[in-house]
Amino acid sequence: MLAFTLKRLLLLLPVFFVVSLVVFLIIHLVPGDPIDNLLRPGASPAQRLQIAAKYGLDRGLAEQYFVWMGRLLTGDLGTSIVQGRPVSALIAQNLPYSLQLGAAALLFSALVGIVAGVVAASFQGTRLDDGITGVILLGSTVPSFFLGLLLILVFAVWLGWVPISGARGWSSLILPVLATGLGGIALVARVTRIAMVETARQDFVMLLHAKGLSPLVIQLRHVLRHAMVPVVTILSLRIGWILGGTVTVEYVFARPGLGSLLIRALNQRDYPLVQGCLLMLAMAVILGTLMGDVVQAAMDPRQREARS
């Protein structure tokens, strides 16, 4: 298992280099630059050059990449052009908010999704199954920013139960978690349902039925246990996705976090900060995938043997 994990980690190195290059090029090839955002009417063209020189923006693109990469390897993500503070400090300040939202949303979609999947599988082919499948499908197709506004209208404006925006305690986390997590429920429920149905058809389940165990015990203790392998994999894969998904939700709810930081940095074309945030999000997706692999291998030894 250790060898399997180490091998996977080693494979990350080339991926990291490719990701860093893409992240760097994406923002530098987008038109616009940070200097225009730093200057106001009244500033002189000489000041433009002064700022460009200060942040190395007067150098060639390749040179800028190697300078950035060199620093990156020593753990230095650079300094935000607009804020003048280390990118790593800004990320460290904002990341906990996104992790909090991401983890809560993941937990929410896992719990509701698994329960919905189990119920749908248990009542397979009935109206209840169709109803659950229909509702979750509908929920998964609504974009999270629209869902966010809808949730604000219903729960904050009409009912007045929770705050509309900001990050002031637990209550202000409820709507962002709903907006982020609802989309994931459909996915988790669908995977759970399919895995449950397939597991239920296997020989050992037949045997358990033949032994006269109660269907509820079989479903919850044996079928669910086996059906969890793909579900946990899907949840691991969603870790990175969900962090990326918080971007629009944080914007709508004016919540601090990596997403808010990234949107502001993008608008201001704050290259080092955009690169830092994108790299973090990309690494979260990659590490989520790795975690999915490792967890899957840990839960199902056949996978480990087949893939090592």
Partner: protein, 529 residues
Amino acid sequence: MNRRQFLASTSAITLAAGLGLGAGQSARAAESEAVLVLSSSEVGAPNQDPIRASLLNTAAYLIYDRLVEQDVDQSYHPHLAESWETSADGMSWTFKLRQGVRFHDGEPFNAATVTWWIAKYRGSVNDYLTDAIDHAEAVDEHTVRFVMKRAEPNLIYNLASSFMGIPSPKSYDAAGDSYGVNEAIGTGPYKLESLVVGQETVLVANEDYAWGSDLSENKGAPYIKRLSLREIPDASTAFLELKTGGVGMLLGVPDEFLPQMQADKNIGFRSLPGFGVTYLMFNSKSEPFSDMALRQATALAIDQSAILKSVFSGVGLEAHQFLISSLAESKVEPKFEIRYDIAKANELLDKAGWARGSDGIRAKDGKALKIKLSTQSETEFRRTGEIVQAQLKALGMDVEIVTFDSSTIRDHLKKGEHQLAVRHYDWNNADILDWFYSSKNIPYPNSTMWDDPKSQELHDIAMHQSKTGDERVANFLHYHERLLSQFAFVPVHEPLQNVAFNNTLLEVPEKVRGPQLTQPTFVDMKTVA
């Protein structure tokens, strides 16, 4: 790791993260507290350092005092300077400073503070504000003289800027590069409690304050003891927060929400005169707008009243010249004003040989009159572009709209790829003409690529040879009229600055003082008892 362990660790992460973040939230004092939302143009201000910042938010007006304050009619009033006089040749300015003023850290404010402060701007991003000053010298404890490199009547405007708030020398030098983030020490009516960039600036009243400016009724400590200035980027969320009383005031109201807000009896408004103008920018270097007849015809085909009505719901003013209407330099002779006259516009194009085809589109020498209109994705830009497209179609011009985000359009303009663009600026000084039309600023910010020797001569006189304020106004008027006579742009709209507040939470003075809602009004505001 088995299933149980995995789920347990996920829950632990959630709980730990939540507790860690929740612990920092303190109970807010309910008494005399106001929560405001900053306007979108102030979102993301990285610090409260007036000398080195290139973006500040409203908090800078409250933490710091300035030597002079500007009023809504653009007149200047004493604050930390009780009075000032300029020598006849404009080469020296002498300020009598207010006595008994202290910084939040207890340090005294005096002439030595001012000489230290002016010197600090050298080499900074805000150097331009003081570059006409050779040096500042202390005449006595409370008198300071600026010895000028050149006469600069606009210095008084710069001194009233939020970028010329005066910080405590002791704290400023001690904090070094980190000044303005965790600590910002001024003499103003509010002290900085905390700043989370992109989220919130929290201020608390300076109870020792006793030197309110001439523009405030209240000369002492502010009535509202705690102010949270929040940044909510999404306009719909901000609007809903105001409506439900989550926040007390929006410092920037998107025009699209005005009708809904006006229908709500709990929402009050204060409207200030415009701070900027929306206009059409030509690329005068390339065809067809290198031809003045084309520029003039286009300008005369734009009906400002229709745009005011359909895009801005009638809120604001029609613009017929380039500057905001509260500036003296905007009072050009009426004959120079650009006004809708479609008959004349058609006549100009007929005369220039642009004949209408069967589809209504004009053509000359086999080339159809097709142009690209560059605009931004924000609602008011896009909709203005659409109306302009329709109005120019009536002139026989086939307009295709190309939409960009606000950073990308600048790159597009810099490259000179545009023909006609919808633009907007916010600036309450006539020197905006220098920014956009000085030949030294080609290709950006002068993306009109305006390079006319006569204009430049008038520009140089206005910018560098004006000795007194009156002379400066007269010189800028000539420069402005020259640009209008050449149809270097098409003025379209002057929006009002709308401030909306929840009147169940806040009492706002009927008359707002200052060019924007800033310190003079904030210290007079009260919470509803």
